[in-house]
C-alpha cells in the first residue's frame, strides 16, 4: 500500500546521467584528497550516492608501487578500506583546528603574563584568611579547621603547559588546556606534606591567583573545580572572554617546585595525616603505628610529577608517528563508554601512558597505524587484569620505590608511573577496571565480525549506563553514607580520603554487593562522580552535594531471577559466613535432594516480580551492613514494564499468559497430529501468531463466557453480540497453519485448491468435534476451534499452492512462472510467518526477556499510532536485531533496557544509507551481508529496509523480506522515538523529576486534522489503554475456571474499531490517513493527504467522495469534506461519539 507513495530521494537516477561527464576529468587525477573535498563541496543536504563507474582504461592501468601498497594494506589490515577511511574521517572531526590552536596559544600567553604579575603579600598564618577579599573563597573544605604554617602570596616560579595540549593529544569536545603554576619554594616548607598543610597552601595560592585574575578583563568566566573529584587538588578553570568562551577551558594547577618533597615520603605504607590532628582527640599512638594514608600520599605526589610525565610521554611519542591519533581514538572509545571523566576514571592521560607502556614493552611497534594502536591496546586491556597483576612504567626504580605488591596492598588497581613511586590508578575502583576490561573484550569480540558495522559500534555509539546495564539503581541521599562509614568502621580510611565519605565507603559497598549478588550478575558498575565545579565566589560544595551515585548491574538472565539463594550445609564452617552476610533472612531449609542447608528465599511469583529479586537483595544488604535505609535506594530496573502489566492478583507482564497459550497450542497440535480419518495426512502444524512466540502485547486470556450476555444462534450453536449491550470481550484468533501432505490428488487449479481446502476445514472440524468435543466453525478460509477458553484459527495449507498461483500459460502456450502479489501473500502466510514464529520462539528460549521487549516496543508503537506502518512482524524483527547484534552492548537482560535500546535504534540508525540486516539463525555469512549492504546502497529505494535471512536460498529474498515505510512516516517515527528516549532516560536517571513513564505512550495529537472520538462502550480492548479508564463495562465474561472443551462458539474476532477503520481506509484511503492505537485507543486520528486536496480535473476514475467545482468551461474536483465528516459519523453509528475537525485546512 505504501509502495505507491513517491519517494523523495528517487532523484538519484535522474542526476546520474549527466553526472557521468563531470566525473571524467576528476578521474584522470585520482588523488585521495581531491575527491574527499569534492563530496563535501556540494554542501547541500541532498547528496546522492552515485554508483561508481570507472572506465576500463582506469581500472586496468598498470598500478604504481605506492598504490599497490595502499590497496594491499587496505585489503589485509581492514575488512575493507571503508573502516580505515571512516577512522580517518573521525579523527578529522575530533582534531583541533589550527585556528583553535592559535586562539589557545594567545590566551595561554595572556594568562601567563597575568599570572607572572601576581603581587606579593605579607606573611600570615595559614588559617588567617583576612588577606583574601570577600569576593574570592578558598576552594577547600577546611575540616578540621586549623592547621599550622605560614603563607604568603608571591609570583609563581614558573608557568608551564602540561598535559595533553603540548603533547598533541588534545581532542574535541571539551578542550581543556592544563597550565602548571609552580608555587615558589619560599611559600612552602618541606614538612608541609603532613596534615594537609601543603594541599591547603596550594588551595590558598589558587585563591590568591583567582583574586588577582578577577580584576582582569582578558579572562572570561572563572570557576573552581578539582582534579578527578579529588578535593585535595583544586584547580582554577579559566575561559576566554567573548563568544569563544565555551570553545576551550584553561585549567590552572598549582604545583610545588620539582623535587621539593622527597618521593619516599609518599610510600603507600607511610602515614602523613596524624590521627590526633584529624580527630582532634588526644591519642597515644606513635608515628609508627599510625594507619597508612596511601590515597593522601598519592594525591600530593601527583602534584609533584606532571612535568616529568610530560617529558617522558613526549620522548616516547615522538618516535611513534601515529601516537597522537591512537590516543585520540582511544579517548573517543573511552568517552563513548563514560569512562573518561570523574573520580577514578581512565582518562586520556592514562590512555597515553598505556600506549607508552605498550610501546616501551614492544607490544606495539613504532610504525603501526592508529587503528592498530587502538586494537592492540584494547586487546591488552581485555587480557590483563591490573587488579591482580599491576604494571609499572619504571625502568630501573630506585631502591626507595615501593614494590608492586605493596601497591597492590594499598590500592585496587595498580599502574605505576615512570618514577616508580606513584600509582596512577589510585582512585580507580576494581569495578571500574572490570568494566573497562569488559568493554574492551566486548569490543574485541565484535571487531572481527564482518556482519557488524564495527566502526559504528566501536566509536560512534554512546553507552550511557541506563542503556548499558540491565538494571540500574541509585543511592540518593549520599549523606547517609557517613553513617555507613561508621557502621563499616572506616575511620582511618576516611582520614586517608580526607573526609570524603562517599569515596571511602564506595569500594566497601561495591564488594558487599558483589558478594551478595554473586552468580546473578556478570558485572557491577558504578557511575564516576563528576568533578564538581563551583564559582570562585562561593564556598567549596560539601561531599554530599554531588548527584546520586548510580550503580549498574549486568545480569545473568538465567540466574538473576531465581528466588532461592542456597547456601552451604548447616554444619559446614562456611555457614557462619553465610549467616553473617544475610542476617536474619538466612534460614535452615530442607530440600528435596535431602540436603539441609542455609538458604534465603526471596519473594516473587510471576516473572515481573522475580525481576525484582536483585532489588530485594540490594536493599536488604545495604540496610543490614551499611545502614542505608531502603528509601535511599532508587531502583529503576523495571519502571517501564508498568505499561504492559496485567493481572489483578499477581501482576504479570505476560510471560505466564503466553506460556499458557503456548501450552494449549501444543496440546492442540498433538491432537491434530493424532487425528485419524483424514484423506491426506498432516505433515506439519505450525503456529503463526505473535502469541505463540511470546511477543503478543497482551496475550489472549482464557475466557469464560456469560451466555446471557449474547444472542444465541441456535443452528450453529454460536453467540452473536447484542446491539444494546457493550461490545463483548475481544476473542483473538490464534493462527495455526496446518500443512497437508502433497499428493497427486490435489488439483492443479487455484479455485479447485481453494475448495479442497474448505473441504479439509470441514473434515477437521468434524473430527475435532467428535473426538475432543471442541466447538468448531469451518469457513472456506479457516477453521475456528474453541479450546481452553482460547480460539485457534486453523488454516490448511498446501505447499505447492503458491507455485500454482504463479504459473500461467502465455499466448504462445509456454508455461511461464511469474511472481504475483497473491502468491507472495500466501507464501508469507503459510511458509514465512510460521518460520518466523518458530525462529523467534527459539530466540525467546535463548533470551528470557525477548518477548517482554517486543511487547514493550509494540505497545509504544501502538500508543504512538504507528501500528499500521510498522507491523508486528517488523517490530519483532527490529527487537530481534537488538538481541542478535547487540554490539557494542551485550544482549538486553531486562525488558526496560531492551526497550530503551529499541527506541535508540529507531532514533539513531542510519536508515537512509544502510540496511538493517537481521541475521536470524546466523545464516548470513560475512560476504553476503556486505553484499546486501552494498546492493542496498545502490538501489536505495527503501527507507526502512529490513533484510533478514530466514530463507536465504529462495530467489525472492529481497522482495519478500524488505519492509518499507514511507519517508514521511519514518521521519515521524525517528523524531518521536528520539523524543521518547530523551524523556524516558531523563526520568529514569533523575529521581527529582515527575515519575510517569506513561508520558512517552501518550501521542501528540495536535498534528492531526480530524479526531474521531469513540464510544468507550464499543471499544472491546478498552482495558488495555495506556491510561486505563475509570469506568469499566461488563463484556460478557465471568470469573471462574475455564472449561477445556464444549460450550457454544464465542463471538470471534469482532472488533468494531478495526471494522470501522477498515471501512474508513477502504472508502477514504486516497484522501486521508487513519491512525489508531490498537490497544484500547478511543481516538482515531485523521490526517488529510495534502495531495488529494489539489483540485483535479474531472475524470470518471477519480470522483470518489469529491465534488465538482465549475469555473468557466473547466470542471475540477475537490474532496467533499463536509460530506466526508458526515460519513465518518454515519458509517460508525453507535461507535463514534463525536467527530472533531481541528483544522480549517482543506475545508
Amino acid at each position: 500500500m505504501k509502495k505507491k507513495q513517491p519517494v523523495v530521494e528517487d532523484t538519484g537516477e535522474v542526476i546520474d546521467s549527466h553526472e557521468e561527464e563531470d566525473e571524467a576529468p576528476l578521474k584522470a587525477k585520482r588523488s585521495k584528497h581531491e575527491q574527499a573535498g569534492e563530496g563535501g563541496g556540494g554542501g547541500g543536504e541532498e547528496v546522492v550516492y552515485h554508483p561508481v563507474k570507472l572506465s576500463r582504461s582506469d581500472l586496468y592501468r598498470p598500478p604504481s608501487a605506492e598504490e599497490l601498497n595502499q590497496l594491499k594494506e587496505a585489503e589485509s589490515l581492514f575488512h575493507c578500506s571503508l573502516l580505515k577511511m571512516q577512522m580517518e574521517e573521525l579523527l578529522k572531526e575530533v582534531a583541533l583546528s589550527e585556528r583553535r590552536k592559535q586562539q589557545i596559544d594567545s590566551f595561554v600567553q595572556t594568562v601567563t603574563k597575568l599570572l607572572q604579575a601576581v603581587p606579593d603579600s605579607p606573611e600570615v598564618e595559614v588559617s588567617d584568611l583576612s588577606w583574601l577579599s570577600g569576593a574570592v573563597k578558598v576552594p577547600f573544605l577546611l575540616v578540621p579547621k586549623t592547621t599550622k604554617g605560614k603563607f604568603h602570596m608571591a609570583p609563581p616560579a614558573s608557568v608551564d603547559l602540561i598535559g595533553s595540549y603540548p603533547l598533541g593529544t588534545c581532542t574535541k569536545p571539551r578542550v581543556t588546556v592544563d597550565l602548571a603554576v609552580t608555587i615558589p619554594a619560599d611559600v612552602l616548607h618541606p614538612k608541609d606534606v603532613v596534615n594537609q598543610r601543603y594541599p591547603r597552601k596550594r588551595a590558598l595560592y589558587l585563591a590568591g591567583l583567582a583574586q588577582h585574575l578577577t580584576s582582569s578583563s582578558d579572562i572570561g568566566a572563572m570557576s573552581y573545580s578539582c582534579l578527578h573529584g579529588n578535593r585535595l587538588r583544586p584547580v582554577l578553570l579559566l575561559t576566554p572572554p567573548g563568544k569563544e568562551s565555551s570553545s576551550f577551558t584553561v585549567r590552572v594547577h598549582a604545583c610545588p617546585p620539582p623535587g621539593f618533597f622527597k618521593p619516599n615520603r609518599f610510600h603507600p605504607q607511610r602515614n602523613n595525616v596524624r590521627t590526633e590532628w584529624y580527630t582532634g582527640l588526644q591519642t597515644s599512638m606513635s608515628e609508627g603505628s599510625e594507619p597508612p594514608t596511601p590515597h593522601y600520599n598519592s594525591s600530593v605526589l601527583g602534584d609533584l610529577l606532571p612535568r616529568a610525565h610530560l617529558q617522558f610521554l613526549s620522548a616516547v611519542s615522538s618516535q611513534c608517528s601515529a601516537f597522537a591519533d591512537g590516543v585520540a581514538l582511544l579517548k573517543v572509545w573511552l568517552r563513548q563508554r563514560e569512562l573518561d571523566q570523574g573520580t577514578g576514571c581512565f582518562n586520556g592521560f592514562l590512555a597515553s601512558m598505556l600506549l607508552t607502556y605498550l610501546l616501551t614493552t614492544h607490544r606495539i611497534s613504532n610504525t603501526m597505524t592508529a587503528y592498530q594502536l587502538l586494537r592492540n591496546s584494547l586487546n591488552f586491556l581485555a587480557t590483563t587484569d591490573l587488579t591482580v597483576n599491576g604494571i609499572s612504567l619504571a625502568r630501573d626504580p630506585d631502591c626507595t620505590a615501593p614494590a608492586l605488591a605493596e601497591f597492590h596492598n594499598a590500592f585496587q588497581v595498580v599502574f605505576v608511573d615512570p618514577s616508580g613511586h606513584l600509582n596512577m590508578c589510585a582512585d580507580m575502583t576494581a569495578c571500574t577496571y572490570k568494566q573497562l576490561q569488559h568493554e574492551a573484550s566486548v569490543s574485541m569480540q565484535f571487531w572481527d565480525d564482518p556482519t557488524v558495522d564495527g566502526f559504528h559500534s566501536l566509536l560512534m555509539t554512546p553507552k550511557p549506563m541506563i542503556r548499558t546495564s540491565d538494571h540500574v539503581f541509585q543511592l540518593c541521599e549520599l549523606v547517609k553514607l557517613q553513617s555507613s562509614c561508621k557502621k563499616l568502621n572506616l575511620l582511618s580510611e576516611l582520614m586517608d580520603h580526607s573526609g570524603n565519605y562517599v569515596h571511602t565507603a564506595l569500594p566497601y559497598i561495591l564488594s558487599l554487593l558483589q558478594r551478595g549478588l554473586g552468580e546473578r550478575i556478570h558485572l557491577l558498575t558504578h557511575s564516576l562522580s563528576p568533578d564538581p565545579e563551583w564559582s570562585v565566589e562561593s564556598e567549596a560544595p560539601k561531599h554530599k552535594a554531588q548527584p546520586p551515585l548510580s550503580f549498574g548491574l549486568l545480569l545473568k538472565p538465567e540466574l538473576a531471577t531465581s528466588v532461592l539463594e542456597r547456601g552451604p550445609p548447616a554444619d559446614s564452617p562456611k555457614a557462619a559466613e553465610f549467616r553473617e552476610l544475610w542476617g536474619s533472612r538466612s534460614e535452615l531449609r530442607r530440600f528435596q535432594d535431602g540436603g539441609i542447608t542455609e538458604a534465603v528465599l526471596w519473594d516473587g511469583q510471576s516473572m515481573c516480580q522475580k525481576q525484582l529479586v536483585p532489588k530485594q537483595i540490594i536493599t536488604h544488604l545495604l540496610q543490614l551492613h551499611a545502614d542505608v535505609p531502603e528509601s535511599c535506594v532508587r531502583y529503576v530496573g523495571v519502571k517501564v514494564d508498568d505499561v504492559i502489566i496485567t493481572g489483578s492478583e499477581v501482576p504479570s507482564t505476560g510471560e505466564e499468559e503466553s506460556l499458557r497459550v503456548v501450552q494449549s497450542y501444543d496440546d492442540l497440535s498433538r491432537k491434530l497430529w493424532r487425528l485419524e480419518g483424514l484423506p491426506l495426512s498432516i505433515t506439519a502444524v505450525q503456529g503463526a501468531h505473535p502469541a505463540l512466540r511470546y511477543t503478543q502485547v497482551f496475550p489472549p486470556l482464557p475466557l469464560k463466557l456469560d451466555y446471557s450476555f449474547f444472542v444465541r444462534e441456535k443452528i450453529s450453536r454460536s453467540l452473536v453480540p447484542k446491539e444494546d449491550k457493550p461490545c463483548p470481550a475481544y476473542v483473538t484468533p490464534i493462527t495455526v497453519i496446518c500443512h497437508m501432505e502433497g499428493s497427486g490428488k490435489w488439483p492443479h487449479d487455484r479455485l479447485a485448491i481453494r475448495h479442497i481446502r474448505a473441504a479439509f476445514h470441514i473434515r477437521l472440524g468434524e473430527l475435532l468435534k467428535k473426538h475432543h468435543n471442541y466447538p468448531c466453525k469451518p469457513c472456506p478460509t479457516h477453521l475456528d476451534v474453541w479450546k481452553d477458553g482460547l480460539l485457534f484459527r486453523v488454516q490448511v495449507a498446501y505447499h505447492r499452492e503458491p507455485q500454482v498461483l504463479r504459473e500461467s500459460v502465455n499466448a504462445e502456450g509456454l508455461l511461464v512462472v511469474r511472481d504475483n502479489e497473491e502468491a507472495q501473500a500466501l507464501e508469507m502466510a503459510t511458509n514465512y510467518k510460521p518460520l518466523l514464529t518458530s525462529t523467534l520462539h527459539g530466540l525467546q528460549q535463548q533470551h528470557q526477556c525477548f518477548g517482554a521487549v517486543c511487547r514493550l516496543a509494540k505497545r509504544w508503537l501502538g500508543a504512538q499510532l504507528f501500528s499500521e506502518d510498522i507491523t508486528e512482524d517488523t517490530a519483532d524483527l527490529l527487537v530481534a536485531s537488538l538481541f542478535l547484534q547487540p554490539a557494542p552492548f551485550t544482549p538486553p537482560g531486562s525488558p526496560q533496557v531492551g526497550f530503551l535500546r529499541f527506541l535508540r535504534l529507531l532514533a539513531s540508525f542510519d536508515w537512509r544509507n544502510t540496511p538493517l540486516i537481521v541475521n536470524l539463525n546466523n545464516q548470513l555469512t560475512g560476504k553476503q551481508s556486505v553484499d546486501a549492504r552494498n546492493s542496498h546502497i545502490v538501489s536505495r529505494s527503501w527507507s526502512l529496509f529490513l533484510a533478514h535471512t530466514a530463507d536465504m536460498s529462495s530467489s525472492h529474498v529481497t522482495d519478500r523480506l524488505c519492509v518499507c515505510v514511507s519517508v514521511q512516516m519514518l521521519h515521524r517515527v525517528v523524531m518521536l522515538a528520539a523524543e521518547s528516549l530523551k524523556v524516558l532516560e531523563n526520568q529514569l536517571m533523575d529521581g527529582s523529576q515527575m515519575q510517569d513513564v506513561r508520558v512517552v505512550m501518550r501521542p501528540p495529537l495536535d498534528a492531526y486534522d480530524v479526531l474521531i472520538h469513540l464510544n468507550p462502550k464499543q471499544v472491546p480492548l478498552l482495558s488495555q489503554a495506556v491510561d486505563p479508564p475509570a469506568v469499566t463495562f461488563s463484556r460478557g465474561v465471568m470469573d471462574g475456571n475455564v472449561a477445556h472443551s464444549g460450550g457454544a462458539m464465542p463471538v470471534v474476532d469482532y472488533n468494531p474499531v478495526s471494522l470501522y477503520l477498515a471501512e474508513l481506509r477502504d472508502s477514504f484511503g486516497d484522501l486521508a490517513l487513519f491512525f489508531c492505537d490498537p490497544y484500547g485507543g478511543t481516538v482515531i486520528a485523521v490526517l488529510w493527504n495534502p495531495k488529494a486536496f489539489v483540485p483535479l480535473p474531472f475524470k470518471t476514475s477519480q470522483v470518489s467522495a469529491r465534488r465538482v467545482e465549475v469555473t468557466g468551461e473547466e470542471a475540477k474536483t475537490v474532496p467533499n469534506v463536509e460530506a466526508i465528516l458526515e460519513d465518518f459519523r454515519n458509517m460508525g453509528k453507535g461507535l463514534v461519539k463525536s467527530v472533531e475537525a481541528r483544522t480549517e485546512k482543506c475545508t
Binding site: 575527491q35 574527499a36 569534492e38 563530496g39 563535501g40 554542501g43 547528496v47 546522492v48 561508481v52 570507472l54 581500472l59 590497496l71 585489503e75 575493507c80 571503508l82 571512516q86 574521517e89 573521525l90 575530533v94 573517543v332 554512546p462 443452528i715 450453529s716 452473536v720 453480540p721 446491539e723 488439483p747 479455485l751 481453494r754 475448495h755 474448505a758 473441504a759 470441514i762 469457513c779 509456454l814 508455461l815 512462472v817 537512509r912 464499543q1018 469482532y1054 470501522y1060 471501512e1063 477502504d1066 472508502s1067 474531472f1098 470518471t1100 470522483v1103 467522495a1105 465534488r1107 465549475v1110 467533499n1120 460530506a1123 465528516l1125 460519513d1127 454515519n1130 458509517m1131 460508525g1132 453507535g1134 461507535l1135 463514534v1136
Partner: protein, 282 residues
C-alpha cells in the same frame, strides 16, 4: 461551500461540463452535508453487452459505501422501474470469466465509493433521472427504508458470516463435480487432437533421441532456462583457465581492478556520509 452553485435556478438540473448531471444525495433527511452523484447515460463504443443496454443504462459516479445495490435500486426507482443495478470499484467493461463462484469463496470486496450501472426498464427513465432538480436531494436512509450502518451493520455482517458446514460441503462438492467435468472435457479434446495429429501423420512415427520421456518434454520457461544453463556449464568445463601466461596475468589484473573498484566505492560512500555529518562521535 461553493456559493456559485446556489445560484442555479431552483428545480433545475445541474449539468457540468462532460455531460454529467449532478444529483445531490444525503444519508438521512436531517443530514447537513450532501454527496454528489454524477450521472450520465451509459455510452461505450466497444461494448455491446446484453446486460448494459446502451439506451436504458444510467452510469452513476461516486456512490457512497453505505449504498448497496438494493439501496441504489430503490433510490432510482423514483425515476422509473429499475431492472438491475451493478456496482463496481472502477468504471469499465464487465468481465465475468471462469466458473461461477459462491459468495463465500470470493475474496472480500472493497467497501469504498463505487460506480454504478443502473439499467431501467424503460429508456424514458434516463431522461427523468437526468432532469432531476438540483435542490431535491436523494435520501438514503428513511423511515420506510432504514439502512444499517455502524455497529448494527457489523453485527448483521457477523451474523451473516455463519455458514452451515453442510451447505459449505455441498458448495464444495458441486464445484468439484463441475471441475472434474471440465477437466475431462479438456482431456477429451486433447485426446481428439492427438488422434487427429496421428491421422495427419498417416501412420508415420517420429523417432527421437533419448528415452521415451523426453518426447513429452515440458513446454515451460523454467525448463528452457535449465537447458540453456546446462549448455553453458558444459562449455565452461572444457575451458582451461590457468594455462597460458596471459591468463594468469589477466586474473591478477582483474584482482587489482576489483580492489580499485571497491576502494572507489568506499570513497564515495564516505563522501556521502561526510556530507551528512555522520562522523561526529558525540
Amino acid at each position: 461551500m461553493a456559493p456559485s452553485k446556489k445560484k442555479h435556478a431552483c428545480s433545475q438540473p445541474c449539468v457540468i461540463p462532460g455531460g454529467f448531471t449532478e444529483l445531490p444525495l444525503q444519508f438521512s433527511s436531517d443530514s447537513s452535508a450532501q454527496h454528489r452523484l454524477y450521472v450520465k447515460e451509459h455510452r461505450v463504443r466497444a461494448e455491446r453487452s446484453s446486460h448494459r443496454p446502451l439506451d436504458r443504462t444510467l452510469f452513476v459516479l461516486n456512490v457512497p459505501p453505505y449504498c448497496s445495490e438494493g439501496v441504489v435500486k430503490e433510490l432510482f426507482s423514483q425515476f422509473g422501474s429499475v431492472q438491475s443495478v451493478e456496482l463496481r470499484d472502477h468504471p469499465g467493461s464487465s468481465q465475468e470469466s471462469g466458473p461461477k463462484l459462491s459468495k463465500v469463496f470470493k475474496p472480500a470486496a472493497k467497501q469504498g465509493f463505487k460506480v454504478g450501472y443502473v439499467v431501467f426498464q424503460d429508456s424514458s427513465s434516463l431522461k427523468e433521472a437526468k432532469s432531476h432538480p438540483h435542490d431535491e436531494p436523494l435520501v438514503v436512509c428513511t423511515e420506510q427504508r432504514p439502512v444499517r450502518t455502524g455497529v448494527q451493520k457489523w453485527i448483521q455482517q457477523y451474523q451473516q458470516s455463519f455458514i452451515q458446514p453442510d451447505t459449505l460441503q455441498q458448495m464444495v462438492d458441486s464445484f468439484m463435480v463441475e471441475y472434474d467435468k471440465r477437466k475431462e472435457e479438456v482431456a477429451e479434446r486433447q485426446r481428439k487432437e492427438a488422434e487427429q495429429q496421428e491421422e495427419e501423420d498417416e501412420g508415420w512415427v517420429k523417432v527421437t533421441r533419448g528415452p521415451k520421456g523426453t518426447k513429452a518434454r515440458p513446454h515451460s520457461e523454467a525448463a528452457n532456462k535449465r537447458a540453456l544453463q546446462k549448455e553453458i556449464k558444459k562449455k565452461k568445463r572444457k575451458e582451461l583457465m590457468n594455462f597460458y601466461t596471459w591468463q594468469h596475468r589477466n586474473t591478477q589484473k582483474e584482482h587489482i581492478a576489483e580492489l580499485r573498484k571497491k576502494f572507489e566505492e568506499d570513497k564515495q560512500r564516505i563522501a556521502l556520509l561526510r556530507a551528512q555529518r555522520k562522523f561526529r562521535p558525540y
